[in-house]
């Protein structure tokens, strides 16, 4: 709740920006408004006069708001624009169903007896990326629910790293695929047609496990990014809602 909810509401309405970015601007203004109010109070003004003086000083023109929006427009990345789309209950249900489907498919594939018969060396860096994504996710959840940092930007900071890990996993899978393709082609060339069938089945086993692990890691990491970005947006929106609630 803020005594300046009216001023902040006007700013909020005039800023055509995604809510998280808008929340950060409102938080800054709310802090400064309160401090300016305290400053005027310290100079001997009564509560109403101090509040009025602070509000007058913060009169933001439409032009200034447009300018502010233009500055932040370029910074409001894909994450903020995409994650604010998931708002309705059915969108959330669809997201959960998708996540469960990915988990079930992963479980069915990975527990298959023959899955790990031939492991490509490219699988290990992907496993490393998956572990890094897991560690980052746990850190973010700790930050969001337990540590609750002061800087609202730190909720969001580093979230893009998950997308990078997902992309890196895909890139390693594709690189591994072409590496194995080339390697087995040379083996067949050297070994002759009688070895072809055995080599082909080995190749299929190696690249199938590599591609499945790579794709699943990428999908999982991207999904976790999406869910975390949604949680971050909710946390930022809650902060803004508190500010805009009348005192």
């Amino acid at each position: 709740m803020s005594r300046f909810a009216g001023v902040l509401k006007k700013v909020s309405d005039g800023l055509d920006l995604p809510q998280p970015t808008r929340s950060r601007i409102l938080l800054e203004m709310a802090g400064d408004l309160e401090d300016l109010y305290e400053h005027h109070r310290g100079q001997g003004l009564d509560e109403d006069q101090a509040a009025r003086r602070a509000e007058e000083a913060f009169a933001v023109s439409d032009e200034a708001l447009k300018h502010l929006a233009r500055i932040h427009e370029r910074n409001s990345g894909l994450a903020e624009r995409v994650t604010r789309q998931v708002g309705t209950w059915w969108e959330k249900v669809l997201l959960v169903i998708w996540l469960l489907a990915v988990i079930l498919v992963s479980e069915a594939v990975v527990t298959e007896v023959h899955f790990f018969v031939i492991i490509s060396p490219f699988v290990w860096p992907i496993v490393g990326l998956a572990l890094a994504a897991l560690a980052f996710t746990l850190w973010k959840l700790y930050q969001l629910f337990l540590r609750k940092p002061t800087d609202p930007r730190s909720f969001r900071s580093g979230l893009g790293a998950l997308l990078f890990l997902a992309a890196a996993s895909l890139a390693i899978s594709v690189t591994g695929f072409f590496y194995h393709l080339r390697w087995y082609a040379f083996q067949v060339w050297d070994g002759g047609p009688e070895k072809m069938f055995g080599l082909l089945s080995n190749w299929i086993l190696a690249i199938s496990s590599l591609m499945i692990i790579g794709l699943l890691t990428a999908i999982f990491t991207a999904l976790v990014w999406f869910l975390l970005a949604g949680l971050v947006a909710r946390a930022e929106n809650r902060q803004a809602a508190v500010l805009l609630a009348p005192a």
Binding site: L68, I71, T150
Partner: protein, 120 residues
């Protein structure tokens, strides 16, 4: 502010207002970290009311300077548990301020030369 390849930096007439705001804010922040409202108050006090920043117009300037890396914004809680943003000058900001001061000195020298007065 324009930085010719050889020669001192110069203030461009068409960007007077922008450069003036930038130089004033960087100069205030050179003294130490400030909150947005403190910058506006201090500017008014130091200039004895000659320069006044409406807080509404202050934020776009501050955010732009932060975006280009001349200043840095940090969030503080302090004792009040109220979230407040404090700005401080970066190294790039310090370098920019030095150039701004040089540019403004040169601008006023040229200005008073044209109107036939000595630089005060």
């Amino acid at each position: 502010m324009n930085q010719p390849a050889n020669g001192p930096p110069t203030v461009e007439i068409q960007n007077l207002s922008r450069d003036c705001h930038e130089a004033l804010l960087l100069a205030l922040l050179a003294a130490g970290p400030h909150h947005g409202y403190q910058l506006a108050l201090e500017l008014e006090q130091k200039s004895e009311g000659a320069f006044r920043f409406n807080h509404g117009t202050l934020y776009p300037i501050l955010h732009k300077l932060e975006q280009v890396g001349l200043i840095r914004g940090d969030w503080l809680d302090e004792q009040t548990k109220r979230k407040r943003k404090s700005y401080s000058l970066t190294e790039a900001g310090r370098t920019r301020l030095a150039r701004q001061i040089e540019a403004w000195r040169s601008f006023f020298f040229n200005f008073f030369s044209v109107i036939g007065e000595e630089t005060p």
